[in-house]
């Protein structure tokens, strides 16, 4: 015990000495959860730009979004904040802001012209009382369905565009003795798929009423009910191994030709690309009923209230690096996400991401994800309802609609 304390004390002293010795160095510690191969490549791009600007990137990658975020929050509350930390776009940061733990980015945003660089929907999700508190860094489309192209050819079906075409393709695959549908069975991806069905079946008006206004009467309405029925039907095509299966395992079943279809955001494109597959010949991506638009999700960087001048300088450099158009675009290409800054060169993008980018930059064709609008407590409550409905022998459609409507007022 004593020896451990001594060790800790010496280490702390050594760290202090090291810190004061290199006071000239602008150290920026960044907490994030980007640990997969594509994501790490993206981080490298950002770190490189920061280094070029004269900073020293201190990488603190923590596997799993919730783990990374709770570490960051503990550090901020404990008075030892990182220079920047990664959160999901949306309401997650609000309580930190109300407790005066975040740096106000309004001045930087004005100087760097964020207003004209970024899509309004993304920037607005980081605004509280007219002040900007979050810097959007990555964008994704969430309501995509992914198909194995050779299987589509084998059963003689074109890329589905409507729900009827989807079910027809699933039936044909089933009849051919193939596994039709392998979605991920983790609750958050079940929630993602449910939202995709609500937007695609119930339509944009109902979706926005539920997500933006938390309108319980829209949840109890006929259109939402129709979406619930389609989701229930899709669930019955899912293979037996679905419950608990991660999205990479589920995607892999489509990549390797064991299944026809899976569901997931634009990040699935990275998995296909990493397996050496080409969009259009090996796989297809589609939003079903695309007139209703795409569900946008993404990540933002938050900058804790700086503790000293050195930290302010580090944050200034990080902000400069993250909002730089060529850096942002190179990051998005490496990461497999949508470039979020206007004026980005989209010629290097894969067809699926290019198509997603088109939706992304058109306000009529893009709407926010539930995580952008709901507090984490509500996200959790509706997620519990959705995962119980997704389980065979779980909630009935009527019970589920009630549970979802009640979840909208969770706190």
């Amino acid at each position: 015990m004593i020896s451990k304390l001594l060790l800790a004390a010496t280490t702390a002293t050594a760290l202090c000495i090291a810190a004061s010795a290199s006071a000239q160095e602008v150290k920026g510690e960044v907490i994030h959860q980007w640990t997969s191969a594509a994501e790490s490549a993206g981080v490298k791009v950002l770190a490189q730009k920061f280094t070029e600007l004269g900073g020293t990137w201190v990488d603190n990658a923590i596997s799993g979004g919730p783990n990374a975020r709770s570490t960051a929050v503990n550090r901020v509350v404990g008075g030892n904040p990182p220079a920047a930390m990664l959160f999901n776009t949306g309401a997650q940061f609000v309580e930190l802001q109300t407790n005066a733990l975040l740096r106000d980015l309004t001045a930087t945003a004005k100087a760097d012209n964020w207003q004209n660089k970024m899509p309004a929907a993304l920037l607005n999700s980081g605004i509280v009382d007219g002040e900007i508190w979050a810097l959007p860094i990555s964008g994704n489309g969430a309501n995509w369905f992914w198909f194995n192209k050779p299987i589509l050819d084998k059963i003689g079906v074109a890329k589905p565009k409507t729900w009827d075409e989807v079910f027809a393709a699933l039936d044909k695959a089933k009849a051919a003795g193939l596994t039709p549908f392998t979605p991920s069975g983790e609750p958050r991806w079940q929630r993602l798929m449910f939202n995709a069905v609500v937007l695609g079946v119930a339509g944009r008006d109902t979706y926005d009423a539920v997500i933006y206004k938390r309108d319980a009467s829209a949840v109890r309405g006929e259109k939402f009910k129709a979406a619930v029925k389609v989701f229930e039907k899709l669930r019955d095509y899912a293979d037996a191994g679905t419950p608990g299966r991660s999205w990479p395992d589920s995607t892999n079943l489509v990549i390797s030709g064991k299944a026809l279809m899976t569901q997931g955001g634009t990040w699935l494109n990275g998995a296909f690309a990493a397996a050496g597959k080409t969009a259009g010949t090996d796989y297809e991506c589609a939003i079903i009923n695309p007139d209703q638009g795409m569900v946008i999700s993404g990540d933002v960087f938050l900058f804790p209230e700086p503790k000293n001048a050195a930290m302010t300088r580090a944050q200034d450099l990080l902000l400069k690096a993250f909002a730089d158009v060529p850096t942002q675009t190179a990051f998005a290409v490496a990461n497999g996400t949508i470039p979020i800054l206007k004026g980005a060169d989209t010629s290097k993008l894969n067809p699926c991401i290019a198509e997603a980018s088109r939706f992304f930059n058109d306000p009529k064709l893009s709407t926010g994800s539930d995580q952008m609008m709901f507090t984490p407590a509500i996200v959790g409550a509706v997620e519990d309802a959705i995962t119980r409905f997704s389980t065979k022998g779980g909630l009935t459609a009527e019970q589920f609609i009630e549970a979802y409507a009640k979840g909208l007022s969770a706190s």
Binding site: P66, N67, R69, S70, V73, V77, Q92, E95, L96, N99, G185, E186, P187, D239, A240, G241, T242, P243, G244, T375, P376, A377, V379, G380, D384, T387, R388, F389, S390, T391, K392, G393, G394, A403, S411
Partner: protein
């Protein structure tokens, strides 16, 4: 001969214990009291002190997921504890008869416990996978209709977790009980043999009562496994299918961090603590009572 005066040795003991007592009181007891206090507030992501009365507890017990979690814990305890005890005792009794290769067997039996529950969970998850696991092996061996889908079946999934947990803990219980069995006087065994008492009767009525302390220790250890149950669930089922295998510890962690509901999570943690005390205190009293009686 150097004799220390009783007062100086008592002083030394007190001095040694002061830091420990301080840590226990401030960190553990203080932390528990603080969490209990937070459970009566509206705290969400960060703790605050706006009094909310019993709101969090009312929400907690109205929450379907918490009800399922508690039910799962009771079901888990009522099967896991007796089955592990039975298997652990049987292995201990077998080894105690002086089989050859005792050390090797003991190592093999204890080995699962040396593995992290996460590893145990992942191994069992793949073994029980309906498409790729044991069921697939059986199909490839010619049993074409073989299927074993407990892990994805909401009604049966909790039993797969019990299987993994029993496999994990039986070795530890064996070692604890074996230590107890080794303490049984040889004369007692001789007497049993002379009297010609059947083995099962001897174990049930004579040996088991005489190793009560070891059994109480094993029970305490297993009870801790029950309330701490978290990692094996996360690794095997993630609480699913649906919320079918959710457990209180997972409920608390999810709400404390990802869902930013510190008040609700603290209410759940406080409830869990009260349940633990309700089970552990009588066991500890029993254990101390036995210890006092044996001397």
């Amino acid at each position: 001969m150097f004799v220390r005066s009783p007062s100086s040795s008592r002083l030394q003991a007190t001095l040694t214990l002061v830091p420990v007592a301080f840590v226990v009181l401030s960190v553990y007891v203080g932390g528990v009291l603080w969490a209990a206090g937070i459970s009566f507030t509206r705290s969400s992501m960060l703790p605050n002190y706006r009094f909310a009365g019993l709101t969090q507890y009312i929400n907690l017990f109205a929450n379907a997921r918490w009800q399922v979690s508690l039910g799962n814990m009771v079901l888990f305890a009522s099967i896991f504890i007796p089955v592990t005890l039975l298997i652990g005792y049987s292995m201990a009794a077998m080894i105690n008869r002086g089989v050859r290769g005792e050390n090797a067997l003991r190592t093999i039996y204890l080995y699962p416990f040396a593995m992290s529950f996460i590893v145990t969970g992942l191994v069992w998850r793949w073994l029980l996978d309906p498409n790729f696991g044991i069921a697939d092996v059986a199909r490839k061996l010619g049993f074409e209709n073989a299927s074993f889908d407990w892990i994805v079946n909401a009604d049966m999934a909790i039993f797969t977790i019990i299987i993994a947990a029993v496999w994990h803990s039986a070795g530890l219980v064996m070692v604890v009980l074996l230590a107890g069995l080794r303490g049984v006087d040889d004369d007692l065994w001789k007497a049993i043999r002379i009297e010609g008492i059947p083995a099962w009767k001897a174990h049930l009525y004579i040996i088991v009562p005489s190793i009560g302390t070891s059994i109480a220790t094993a029970l305490v250890l297993m009870s801790l496994t029950v309330v701490r149950l978290f990692d094996v669930v996360v690794a095997m089922t993630g609480g699913g299918p649906g919320i079918a295998t959710d457990v209180p510890a997972k409920f608390i962690i999810d709400h404390m961090f990802e869902r930013q509901q510190v008040g609700l999570a603290s209410a759940a943690a406080t409830t869990l603590l009260l349940l633990v005390l309700a089970v552990a205190v009588p066991l500890l009293i029993l254990k101390n009572h036995r210890k006092g009686g044996a001397r």
